[in-house]
């Protein structure tokens, strides 16, 4: 599969997952009508967003890092799996996602063999969590059962990267041990959730809340917020994400006590934490994986702020007023669209600037 086609498929999966999410709050994408794919996108919203889109991007990112051709099997399988889900081929899609996660586990074993360190082991455990979630999904477990595992995959991937970054700060070994303890609790609660959603969800919420405290206390973003340009932007995205992670943790706890906080539990985590993190890192990761150079500028803050404000509207005002929940979700989608436009604009700006430099060089 050529790179542009792969990129197009990943983007399709993101847009379909967003459309499916909107359908779930009662908003039908204009022009989509009653297209079959939209129904499947709604049904498989989480699998498409986490496995099809994020799983493919993370798989591609890791494949680029290990520089082995076979490593690209993982993102290829997750993209195909996502596309199968969109076509309503649920079993094929789910088992392709299992294959993607299994391949991704092997890729992470290569990383661990290359560098045996706390953060590489965490990346491997995160991959195993994805595999566990995908197996639950493929074997037809209760629909919610894979969710804590899928989120654990994303959270552990992020935690591993953040733990690695803390090495530039003065930190004792207890900092890493504390993180392992919290993540062990998260994995145990994900397993317990399969048997008992209430108590498993409670423990999962406690783990997320403790993790937010760990990030807030130890993360390098507390220093780089005083830097400038891109580094500061990333720190803002990270710290904002940690606040939403805490909200998500409390929402999982509240949900265990019967409060109607499902939307908050899932989307403070998925959008507030994970997507904020993604927006923060995109100016660095996209040039690495898509080989597209970007010009960073203050305009990157626009979609980031839009994401956080729209999420506050959706989960705050929308908690009591369902029409605002739907409106907030539409604004979430608009924030993502604005982000895609920002990336496209930044790529155009880079080409424009560097093209102009080349023209000057030719004429001088």
């Amino acid at each position: 599969m050529t790179k542009p086609l792969f990129g197009l498929c990943v983007l399709t999966l993101l847009l379909a997952a967003v459309a499916g999410g909107l359908l779930r709050v009662g908003v039908v994408l204009p022009g989509a009508g009653d297209a079959p794919w939209l129904g499947y996108a709604g049904e498989f919203h989480a699998a498409l967003m986490i496995g099809g889109f994020l799983g493919s991007v993370i798989g591609l990112e890791r494949a680029m890092a290990v520089k082995r051709r076979l490593a690209f099997i993982a993102p290829l399988a997750s993209v195909l799996g996502g596309l199968c889900l969109l076509r309503g081929q649920a079993a094929a899609g789910a088992w392709l996602l299992v294959a993607a996660a299994a391949a991704f586990v092997i890729v992470n074993l290569v990383v661990v063999r290359r560098q045996f360190a706390a953060h590489t082991v965490l990346l491997l455990v995160g991959a195993l969590a994805w595999l566990a979630g995908n197996l639950l999904f493929a074997t037809g477990a209760r629909p919610a059962a894979p969710l804590p595992w899928w989120f654990a995959f994303l959270v552990m991937t992020i935690a591993a990267e953040r733990l690695e970054m803390t090495r530039v700060m003065r930190r004792g070994p207890e900092v890493g041990l504390l993180l392992f303890a919290v993540l062990a609790l998260m994995l145990a609660s994900a397993a317990w959730f399969v048997a008992s959603p209430a108590s498993g969800g409670l423990l999962f919420g406690i783990a997320l809340t403790l993790l937010a405290a760990w990030f807030g206390w130890f993360d390098v973003a507390r220093r780089t917020i005083y830097a400038h340009g891109l580094a500061r932007y990333m720190a803002v995205a990270l710290l904002g994400g940690y606040a939403w992670l805490a909200v998500a943790g409390l929402a999982w706890i509240g949900m265990a006590f019967g409060l109607p906080l499902r939307d908050t539990a899932l989307h403070a985590l998925g959008l507030g934490f994970v997507v904020s993190m993604m927006m923060g890192h995109a100016p660095v990761i996209l040039p690495a994986i898509a080989r597209v150079k970007l010009t960073f500028g203050g305009w990157f803050y626009a979609p980031l702020i839009a994401l956080h404000v729209s999420l506050a509207l959706r989960l705050g005002v929308g908690y009591t007023d369902l029409s605002w929940r739907a409106r907030g979700a539409v604004f979430n989608a608009a924030a993502l669209a604005l982000f895609i436009a920002t990336i496209a604009g930044a790529a155009w700006a880079w080409r424009h600037q560097h093209g102009a430099v080349r023209v000057r060089e030719i004429h001088s």
């Binding site: 090495r167 660095v284 040039p287």
Partner: protein, 111 residues
């Protein structure tokens, strides 16, 4: 933030200052710190035909390694004589540790 003799250098002395300055301009995007200050440059060897940089990363799972190598090549291109080839070699031994950070980098990170 500069660090004198932050890495071993072997080669013609007149080139040293320019190469160090070029590598100082290559920045880790998240930390806003030069790769020299983070301690990622293990050494530079310059012969008559080639400038060789021995580089490490803090993580084997780091996807931006190619971008950093590209930046090194672009910066060194202006610092070494025309026609000289530039080779950047990635190594994981010895593993990076925070002992390699410059004093300025450590200060920025709150050490």
């Amino acid at each position: 933030m500069t660090s004198a003799s932050a890495f071993p250098f072997a080669g013609p002395a007149p080139l040293r200052r320019g190469i160090e300055a070029a590598l100082q301009r290559v920045v880790d995007p998240e930390l806003a710190l030069s790769i020299v200050d983070v301690g990622l440059v293990y050494g530079v060897t310059v012969t008559e035909t080639q400038a060789h940089v021995l580089l490490t990363m803090t993580s084997a799972a780091c996807p931006v390694v190619d971008l950093i190598i590209e930046d090194i090549e672009a910066e060194l291109d202006g610092a070494v004589p025309a026609g000289m080839t530039i080779q950047v070699e990635l190594t994981w031994a010895p593993p990076w540790s925070s002992d390699r950070m410059s004093e300025g980098a450590k200060r920025f990170m709150g050490w």
